[in-house]
Symmetry: C2
Subunit: 302 residues, 2 copies
């Protein structure tokens, strides 16, 4: 069973959660879960992991491992337009791992850096041959008054935009940004501040522009069309169909009411209109040649 099939089963099993548990607003399937405390405070909950050999290499510096573990999860809070408040980290270490204290110190550092101090954690030692793995859980709060920005609320006619540039995050020469990206927290907040209810849907690009745009389409019951020629590519990247599949961009893809974002509003910020939302299903990447690719099947399925 691949990841997509497993996710479908998990989401199907949890489809009744919001009805069965009154504090649950949004269960599994968006960038974060959304829950409500007794007084009605809305909270964002998210967990994500990094595993040696999958998300970093045995020789990746400890600080960058810790940074990526925290930043991945922060990026999901950013994708809801929220801010992180509190974090917890757990890790399974190889036997005799000599960097446990440094790793914990750097996890603590990066949690504070993004406003979510690590208030809890657990370290376990695995058996011989065990890879290093870290799991980071965050509790965040959504933007007030906009509230959590879901991936399921795109509207027909919406413009599709992205922050920054896409592709090359895993460049083999080590210049890739998958370890050093800046989670788009301030951009997510700025979009909520500026567009309010005209900001309809948002997601962070972790598994590839094509696949993640496809997720917005599927969750919203609509079709997303990406115009390849409009997609800003990272320096050193020139193949849009490859860039759209690279993943680990951690840029925000968002859908807004047409005409609501003016040139003056964007100013110097790196935000680019790359496509539109239509009635239908799936996600098409339209190349300059006119060729249509099925973008929703591009990218990582892990």
């Amino acid at each position: 069973m691949n990841e997509s099939d497993l996710h479908r089963r998990i989401f199907a099993r949890s489809a009744d959660l919001a009805a069965a548990f009154p504090g649950v607003v949004v269960g599994p399937g968006d960038d974060c879960a959304v829950v409500k405390s007794a007084s009605g405070d809305v909270l964002l909950l998210k967990v994500d992991q990094v595993v040696e050999g999958r998300h970093f290499r045995p020789d990746t510096p400890i600080d960058l491992i810790a940074r990526k573990a925290v930043a991945r999860t922060v990026s999901d809070i950013a994708a809801m337009g929220g801010v992180p408040r509190w974090g917890m980290a757990s890790g399974v270490l190889p036997p005799g791992y000599p960097h446990a204290d440094e790793l914990c110190a750097r996890l603590a550092h990066w949690g504070r850096h993004w406003g979510a101090p690590m208030v809890g954690g657990d370290i376990a030692t695995g058996p011989e041959g065990c890879p290093l793995s870290l799991s980071v859980s965050l509790v965040g709060v959504p933007h007030t008054p906009r509230g959590p920005v879901l991936r399921s609320a795109a509207m027909p006619g919406d413009e599709v935009w992205v922050t920054g540039a896409i592709g090359g995050s895993l460049a083999v020469d080590g210049s890739g940004t998958h370890l050093t990206f800046e989670p788009r927290l301030s951009e997510g907040r700025w979009l909520c501040d500026t567009l309010g209810p005209d900001l309809h849907a948002m997601i962070d690009i972790s598994d590839g522009l094509g696949r993640d745009a496809g997720r917005v389409a599927a969750a919203s019951g609509l079709r997303v069309v990406i115009e390849g020629a409009r997609v800003p590519l990272r320096d050193g990247t020139s193949d849009i169909s490859r860039a759209a599949a690279d993943g680990e961009d951690y840029e925000l893809l968002f859908c807004i009411a047409p005409g609501t974002m003016t040139k003056a509003m964007v100013g110097g910020a790196a935000m680019t209109r790359i496509g539109r939302v239509e009635p239908g299903t799936g996600c098409a990447l339209v190349l300059a040649s006119g060729e249509h690719l099925d973008a929703a099947t591009m990218g990582w399925d892990h």
Copy 2:
């Protein structure tokens, strides 16, 4: 560096969290962290893990692996007198692991069972030879009006009590309870309901009665004396000094104002007075022979 040294460093680094981040009430070092939402709702946060070869065996049934992963964390919420509300689970699986869907289904089941539906999660595949590991994060709420019961608030003169019986949780014949224990949620709530502010301190016994009693002593700046002959031992267990070191009991150890719990209140409930709190430091286990053992060094250091 062993677990205790690592914990000391983590706690030292996070000593300023409550001052530096206004939403943090209690940081790392208790059974759960305690935080406050915007409207002042108090939340309990906890993460814990299970790793193949450490907390379960390769042939442990999937359902019991999932149950233990959730129950360990629920036990920490119980130790604060709280109830779990929402959960998240992450797991690193061996390549080609055939039980991923069943594992997720059973995690979802046990989350609902204890009132904390799994609202988020992440599954990653590790490299060849990677053990199965699971991390469960819970958000809970403390008892109203008692509030979170910390391990640091024992008072000189307190009586020390435990729920249930101790020892033999890892019995080699498979009769051990480490996979099937019932987290003491209802007992924790009952103690808050019944004793209110006379319930001073509480902890769950995960690393051994001696070591965990020693943690209450250290956190409270006091000495705990356990009378070995009073400690209820699980059937098949007869050696108190071994039982106090076994760990994985998941019973509650709690400190209460002297004379506040009457026989009538306890009724049929399995709760036993086993010791007292005194000025001083450390934790002594006093045997029937009169011998004093240093209980705080017993048990697991992992």
